[in-house]
Amino acid sequence: MFIITCPYCGDRDQTEFTCHGEAHIARPLNTESLSDEEWGDYVFFRQNPKGMHRERWVHAHGCRRWFNALRNTVSDEIFATYKVGDARPPLPENPS
């Protein structure tokens, strides 16, 4: 049961949030020029790393803002949360 620091509201219980998967996937422009593989890659294929993961959360029961988190998927430790558009925080030196 995480405590998640909403970049707007502060520390809140995990149950106020929902996760929306891998962050920083930009929707391609000129979609019709993409191959089926490129389109499929954008829609379906994910990094799913065992370790540090940048992902999107939304403060569903709070301010309803989307934001990003940097979390270790093995220890579930959240190293940073940051607003959409903010620079990506660096990976921690001691991730586990």
Binding site: I3, A26, N30, E32, W39, V58, W66, S75, G85
Partner: protein, 1007 residues
């Protein structure tokens, strides 16, 4: 022989309060302060149950929550509770307990035959047999299932109520023994919020069961009183911390009224479930004594040494006049002294050859006979210990040889050492390390999980002496509270003068398996380590022999540690025996992962609060009470309660729906459409945004006009639909399906916030702001005209437009949109006026034969027009083309969500299933929704399906049945006849038609 084993004085019981109870139908008495276990023991009752597999007679082993044997069926009827530990039940007047897993009686149990054929039932025997003939397995299984299980489930609903709550604190202390009390005391004092939780009814932990040491007792009392007086401290006795989850989230269950007996709690909940978030956690959970594994060590009367002490000291019960103490460490000497002081004849059997002179002197002082370097070789007595035989133990501990002695006794108090209760630390994700000096696993603070900061102190950290516990606790409390930014308090130390009570465990010499004269598993006796699941040392040998070597395989193959005590007394013994077999060190074999809960906890406590009317939130519209008064039958649509139909007296559902459906097409009907999702969209880029979200064009929609739209996901599949109206230059009002409202708003926000944050678009849910009445039918205009100042002429107010004005004096937005194909108006008023609008329309509608209609009639009406319901006619695998809705997909827009997916080969196929109408040859046959169209009827399945029925009704307007469905290549097959195969084997023929059955030209809706 009432309370024949009760001592004349002593203990923490209240002898003035005599309590009656029954066990297996027989009446007994005990005192307030007793547990069921201590009261039974006071009455000389030692046979308390039968074991799981072999049905061996069993008695008490422990005095706490680690008890594996004494499981009771507590109470009868709706209040009955199986598998309840007698050691954890506080005695109350009128308590009814029964033994379990025996038939016909505890004394004579037919299942005990398993014990005599035990040789044929080694670990995992069922994997090797019951396979022939294959058809018999289900029969064998019935018997296996009946024989297994422990107590019986109640068969009536639980009459009790449960409370659950959250709590936040700075320092949570688990365990109210000396270490925990010291930690809480250090942490309390400044403004820090401290919680102290203990399983027992009073604080003091292990000191409650130890011989009275006045200094310690008064320290406990003073510490507890000071904590109780502090407003920032929450003391929770009778509460067990059950789980330790990430970010210091812990769960605990408080027994609020269990100790009062069933039905005696008044309005208070039976149990309270605590969900606690703590900045720092101090684990002071103590330790659990582990049994020695020796021949027939499961006989009733063979108990843990400290349990015997606890019964003597805390409950004033001396379980027998003749007691043998059997140990491999110093701690059991306290039991020998406790028993001797209480008047018992005590014999000490110590497996160690060398014992400190001081201990020997103490024993002599209390006239306890001592054998060192000896071990119990056998036990006499089946339903209770009568005597033990002891023999000298070889120096390597592997064999018994020499002179045997037989000692008469009714109790064997044994101690194989102490296992720190590392459950909580392990649950928190911390790793353990093996401490050879205490022969047990202790927390490795270097391998604690960073997100779960805390401390383990006292016996659960391998420190057994009272003084060490208090010092460690105080220091951890200090560090914990300082980490939270508070100032710690000083902790007074008691004067500890009684050396025997403060030596802790003392010089253990591990002896994991006490040998007998036979090789393990080959003599008549059994060496149990897991009592409840009947797992013996021989089973571990077998598992090793068959290659089930990893600790997880060992557990799963032999079931050791899997019983309701989760191996509290058995895990380390099992690991150690396996280590000996493998010639490995214990840590190499591994340790098991401790999973929550620490002790089993009631389902009601976890989930009971959000039950009945709090089970899944129920949503009401502003007109809900009107519908109740109008006798509506409700349908659950998502979380909403929606009127399904409004039966008149004597009408069944079919009759009501037929009447409502007909009435809308002939006169006028009204539907509560308030549940539709509504989203207010504003901002300079709103139109551009809608262009991406919907498949069709939005830029040219005039202010005041409405347009239907389909939303696709990026896979190109329909996921919602609705009508959106342009209210102003940069202002739109979007409607969604009732169930899809939240999903759609999330979808919009997700794109806006994460992909196009630069766009000026603002979405606000206004679903509940508006009460919506859909007025449908040829007389809708005439009725509305009597109540509204809006010009309703079709020129002034055409189809697919919105006008503002008053309806029944209420400011309203009226949308001329229709889900029935009739002339229709959706009247939106602020929710506060919803009821008023409904009632006014109801009155005003009488001359027009206005009827109320519910969702079922709405479904029939829309299906007659071929209007789809997303989620019923579509299913998440359907494109607009599949729905024959290419007309709504823009060919000119460069992009919209999902568009690219149309180009994929499977999505672009033209022989996909497509929406069609279906008319059965027999007009009275209403197809089942979900019935399938098959390529060709065969005598029996399998048959190839080429489509299915998605919506199917009897239509009073068509005076026949009709259906919508999906059919492979359906658009090209109109006019063909297809076959449907029904579940009952019947075949039905249907004509493939256009899905619009009424008013194909759309005259009515524009009328």
């Amino acid at each position: 022989m009432s309370q024949s084993c009760r001592l004349d004085s002593g203990g923490r019981i209240d002898r003035s309060k005599v309590l009656q109870f029954t066990f297996d139908g027989k009446s007994y008495t005990g005192f307030k302060g007793d547990t069921l276990a201590s009261a039974l023991l006071a009455n000389g009752v030692k046979l308390l149950g039968r074991s799981f597999k072999y049905h061996r007679p069993r008695g008490l082993i422990a005095a706490g929550s680690e008890e594996p044997n004494a499981l009771m069926q507590l109470e009868n009827g709706a209040y009955t509770e199986p598998n309840t530990r007698a050691t954890c039940i506080e005695l109350y007047d009128g308590l009814v307990a029964n033994s379990q897993n025996r038939w016909p009686s505890l004394g004579f149990d037919v299942g005990a035959i398993n014990s005599s054929v035990a040789r044929f039932l080694p670990a995992g025997f069922y994997y090797k047999t019951f396979m022939w003939p294959a058809s018999m397995w289900m029969t064998y299984e019935k018997f296996i299932r009946k024989a297994a299980g422990l107590g019986v489930s109640p068969t009536e609903p639980d009459p009790d109520v449960y409370h659950s709550r959250y709590a936040t604190c700075d320092v949570l202390v688990i365990g109210g023994g000396p270490a925990g009390l010291a930690a809480a005391t250090a942490a309390a004092g400044s403004d820090a919020r401290v919680m102290l939780i203990d399983e027992q009814s009073e604080f003091g932990g292990s000191t409650l069961g130890a011989a009275a040491v006045p200094e310690v007792a008064s320290w406990v009392a003073a510490s507890t009183a000071a904590l109780a007086a502090n407003n920032n401290v929450t003391l929770l006795p009778r509460t067990t911390v059950t789980g330790y989850f990430d970010y210091n989230y812990l769960t605990a269950v408080e027994k609020v009224t269990d100790h009062l007996g069933p039905g005696n709690g008044g309005t208070a909940p039976r149990q309270r479930f605590w969900k606690i978030r703590a900045s720092r956690v101090v684990i002071a959970a103590g330790s659990i004594e582990r049994p020695l594994v020796f021949a027939d060590n499961d006989r009733p009367g063979i108990m843990l040494a400290n349990a015997v002490s606890t019964y003597i000291n805390r409950f004033g019960v001396l379980p027998d006049q003749n007691i043998v103490v059997f140990t491999n460490n110093d701690s059991a000497y306290r039991t020998a002294v406790d028993a001797a002081r209480s008047g018992a004849t005590v014999t000490m059997v110590d497996t160690r050859a060398e014992v400190s002179a001081e201990l020997t002197r103490v024993l002599q002082q209390h006239k306890v006979k001592q054998f060192t370097g000896h071990a119990i070789s056998s036990v006499q007595g089946t339903k209770g210990v009568k005597a033990v035989r002891i023999m000298p133990l070889s120096a390597d501990g592997k064999s018994l040889q020499g002179q045997a002695w037989e000692i008469n006794c009714g109790i064997v108090a044994n101690s194989g050492g102490w296992t720190p209760s590392v459950h909580m630390f392990s649950q928190s994700g911390g790793k353990l390390q093996y401490d050879n000096s205490i022969e047990g696993f202790v927390p490795d603070p270097a391998k604690a999980k960073r997100i779960n900061p805390g401390f383990s102190v006292g016996a659960c950290n391998g420190s057994f002496a009272t003084g060490d516990c208090i010092a460690e606790g105080a220091q951890a409390g200090r560090q914990a509270v300082e980490a939270c930014g508070f100032v710690a308090s000083d902790v007074a130390m008691p004067e500890l003068t009684d050396a025997l009570n403060d030596t802790g465990m003392g010089g253990i010499a591990a002896l994991w398996l006490v040998p007998t004269v036979h090789p393990v598993g080959e003599g008549p006796a059994k060496h149990f380590h897991d009592f409840q699941n009947d797992v013996t040392a021989a089973d571990i040998h077998l598992a090793a022999r068959e290659g089930y070597l990893s600790v997880e395989h060992l557990k799963r193959y032999t079931t050791t540690g899997m019983a309701t005590d989760q191996g509290k007394t058995s895990n380390l013994n099992a690991l150690a025996i396996m280590a000996e077999i493998r010639g490995a060190q214990i840590p190499e074999v591994g340790t098991t992962t401790f999973r929550p809960p620490f002790t089993p906890l009631t389902f009601g406590a976890i989930g009971g609060q959000e039950s009945k009317d709090l089970f899944l939130q129920e949503r009401h519209t502003p007109m809900h009470q009107c519908h109740v008064q109008n006798n509506a039958v409700f349908e659950d649509v998502g979380d909403w309660k929606r009127p399904w139909y409004f039966p008149h007296s004597g009408e069944d559902m079919h009759a009501a729906v037929q009447r409502e459906t007909l009435s809308v097409r002939t006169d006028v009907g009204m539907l509560d459409a308030s549940t539709l999702g509504k989203i207010d969209i504003q901002g300079a880029d709103a139109a551009e945004f809608l262009e991406m979200i919907y498949t069709n064009n939005w830029k040219k929609l005039a202010i005041g006009n409405c347009r239907y739209g389909l939303m696709l996901n990026e896979h190109g599949m329909i996921f919602d639909d609705g009508v959106t109206t342009r209210l102003g230059e940069h202002h739109y009002h979007m409607t969604t399906t009732s169930g899809g409202a939240a999903r759609v708003l999330n979808w919009l926000e997700e794109w806006l916030q994460t992909e196009w944050p630069e766009k000026q678009v603002y979405c606000t849910s206004v679903t509940e702001q508006w009460a919506v009445v859909a007025l449908n039918g040829p007389k809708a205009r005439d009725l509305l005209a009597t109540l509204s100042d809006i010009d309703l002429s079709k020129e002034a107010f055409p189809f697919m437009s919105m006008r503002e004005g008053q309806v029944a004096g209420i400011p309203a937005r009226v949308y001329r949109i229709s889900f029935t194909g009739e002339l229709a108006y959706e009247i939106n008023v602020p929710a506060r006026f919803g009821r008023q609008l409904w009632e006014t329309l109801q009155e005003a509608g009488k001359p027009f034969n206005l009827c109320h209609y519910g969702t079922e009639a709405m479904h029939v009406l829309r299906a007659e027009k071929g209007f789809i319901i997303v989620g019923q006619d579509t299913d998440g695998t359907v494109t607009p083309a599949d729905m024959d809705m290419d007309w709504i997909v823009s060919k000119t827009k460069p992009d919209f969500l999902g568009k690219r997916s149309f180009l994929r080969s499977d999505t672009a196929r033209d022989d996909r299933q497509q929406l069609v109408g279906l008319l059965t040859t027999d007009p009275t046959v209403v197809l089942m929704e979900g019935a399938h169209i098959v390529q060709e009827i065969k005598d029996a399945p399998p048959m190839t399906t080429i489509g299915r029925v998605t919506s199917s009704y009897m239509s009073p307007n068509l005076e026949r049945s009709f259906a919508l469905g999906m059919l492979k290549n359906g658009l090209a097959r109109k006019g063909e006849t297809v076959q449907l195969s029904l579940m009952n084997g019947d075949a039905v023929e249907a004509l493939v038609t256009d899905p619009v059955f009424i008013d194909k030209e759309g005259v009515r809706v524009r009328g």
